[in-house]
């Protein structure tokens, strides 16, 4: 009886793993089949010459180049906020917080993680309305506001993975900081964080992926259909997920829908490139800190 249960469990585990792989392969396969043919110069730059578009000499009206750059800026600016704040909060929760503080702050982090992105978008929108009525009458939805709201949305991923990675460090390694005469902070910076860096990276990757794909937050906080290249932190911008949504919802021809699929493929490529960059940076950094 036990043997049969064991076999069933193993079979179910194989089946589940197989289904996940199949789903991923089918998704990418479908996107490739519908979108690959539409990936060309005109998808990115429309009628504009690519050199003029990239150098900013001529505006792009039809292509997704401004949206690609908008998403890239959005990910970078939100990561600039969420990664340091998230890691610092994770360090605090793992290393400094008392049991009681850890429980109540942990609850707040879980609440933040469970907040639907549209609610976060509404928060950003309400915030800007409040600012307009009070301190900054000229404030408006912008790249900075969207990035800030996105950073809030992805913050729990970075906090929780940092906290978990630090707490997973075994006592025999943890004690080496004090034994070598390091202060608490020195031990965190020179031993614990480097050792936990692989775990932290997984949180950073999750955060960047979520920042790149979220549509609901930016919809209410700064994204527009035709903004052109992002001109600054206080300006509105275009973004790939919104572009995909727009193309899918408003398409007139099959070609436009295919462009939507092609844009999805570009978004997937962009996030993959970001993940790969983060991964390679971490490995390079790890190789370095292990030696010197």
């Amino acid at each position: 009886m036990k043997k049969i249960a064991d076999r069933c469990l193993v079979g179910f585990a194989w089946l589940s793993a197989g289904m996940v792989t199949l789903a991923a392969v089918m998704l990418v396969g479908f996107l490739l089949r519908r979108g690959l043919a539409s990936i060309d110069g005109s998808l990115f730059f429309g009628e504009t010459h690519w050199l003029d578009a990239v150098s900013g000499r001529a505006p792009v009206f039809e292509g997704i180049w401004p949206a690609l750059m908008g998403t890239l800026y959005l990910v970078l600016v939100s990561s600039f906020v969420s990664i340091p704040v998230g890691i610092a909060s994770g360090v605090y929760l793992a290393e400094y917080a008392s049991k009681r503080v850890r429980a109540s702050l942990g609850c707040a982090v879980d609440l933040l993680a469970g907040t639907p992105s549209i609610v976060m978008g509404l928060f950003g929108f309400a915030l800007i309305l409040l600012l307009r009525r009070t301190l900054f009458p000229q404030a408006g939805t912008s790249l900075a506001l969207a990035a800030l709201c996105i950073a809030l949305l992805v913050l729990p991923y970075v906090i929780r993975t940092t906290q978990t990675a630090l707490q997973a460090i075994p006592v025999h390694l943890r004690i080496l900081g004090p034994v070598c005469g390091l202060s608490g902070l020195q031990a965190i910076v020179h031993i614990l964080l480097p050792v936990a860096s692989r775990g932290i990276l997984s949180g950073v990757i999750l955060a960047m992926g979520r920042a790149a794909e979220d549509t609901a937050v930016i919809l209410l906080t700064g994204v527009v259909a035709q903004a052109g290249m992002p001109r600054g932190l206080w300006e509105r911008f275009e973004a790939l997920p919104f572009r995909i949504y727009y193309l899918a919802a408003e398409h007139q021809t099959r070609r436009q829908l295919d462009q939507g699929f092609a844009t999805s493929l570009v978004l997937l490529l962009l996030t993959s490139t970001l993940f790969l960059t983060a991964f390679m940076l971490q490995r390079r950094f790890e190789k370095r800190w292990k030696k010197w």
Binding site: P178, G181, K290, W292
Partner: protein, 257 residues
């Protein structure tokens, strides 16, 4: 006749240590002399490691620890109460009262970084001075010739005995006055054990050494002074002469264990 102690290196008086309300050490008093090798033996759970860790306040690293009593250590010529309010800061105390563990505790870095990181971070050493200090410490433990050509290899690629000597070198590099050694040969083979034992004998003139040992024969070989601990209390203290008398030693040990 016990000789009169005029310049003790460490004085422990009525030391009690509790973890979560459970007493681990009870009224332990002992005097440690400079230039002697002190060995503590006792059955598992008798409080040997806790006693060592009380001397560099490492017990406080573990949760719910309460310590009372006095631990005074001679630092720069003066006996300093390390639990007093004006005691040296913990990082400084732990540099000067260094500790080596039962299983080699190398950092997951290269051999070189195991040596240099604590020196850079705590003492701010750089450049030539840093390399000199590293080489000096590695030579002290007889490891320099073995690792000179592979300083950038991971420390975990060394053998157990080499890792233990690296840990000892890392401690020596920080300029300690006291060495606390917790069963340093427990995980090593015969030859590596011999090397570490010889090292401790060589170092005892320059450092105050307190070692916990799991082996009675090792304790007899090494100790100038021996304490036997049971259930958190010092049951017996023996000097070199008593240790030499095999029959007497055996009788005392049989009575206690």
């Amino acid at each position: 006749m016990e000789k009169v102690v005029t310049n003790p290196a460490i004085v422990v008086e009525e030391l009690c240590v509790e973890f979560s309300g459970k007493t681990v050490l009870e009224n332990v008093s002992l005097t440690i002399l400079p230039a002697e090798l002190h060995v503590i033996i006792g059955p598992s759970g008798s409080g040997k490691s806790t006693l060592l860790r009380a001397i560099n306040r490492l017990n406080e690293f573990f949760p719910n620890c309460r310590t009372s009593g006095l631990v005074r250590i001679r630092l720069d010529g003066h006996l300093v109460d390390i639990y007093a309010r004006d005691a040296p800061p913990l990082p400084e105390l732990r540099r000067r009262v260094a500790m080596v563990f039962q299983t080699p505790a190398v950092l997951p870095f290269s051999i070189e970084k195991n040596m240099t990181m604590p020196l850079k971070v705590t003492l701010g050493l750089r450049g030539g001075e840093l390399r000199e200090r590293m080489e000096w410490a590695l030579r002290q433990v007889g490891l320099w010739d073995e690792v000179e050509a592979r300083l950038l290899d991971e420390a975990t690629t060394l053998s157990g005995g080499q890792q233990q000597r690296l840990c000892l070198a890392r401690a020596l590099a920080l300029g300690p006055q006291v060495l606390l050694v917790d069963e340093p040969t427990a995980s090593l083979d015969f030859r590596a054990t011999e090397t570490i034992e010889q090292l401790l004998v060589d170092l005892k003139d320059r450092y105050t050494i307190i070692a916990v040992s799991h082996s009675l024969s090792q304790a007899r070989r090494l100790a100038d002074r021996l304490w036997v601990l049971r259930e958190g209390r010092v049951m017996q203290q023996m000097n070199r002469r008593q240790l030499q008398d095999a029959a007497l030693f055996q009788e005392i040990i049989d009575n206690i264990f």
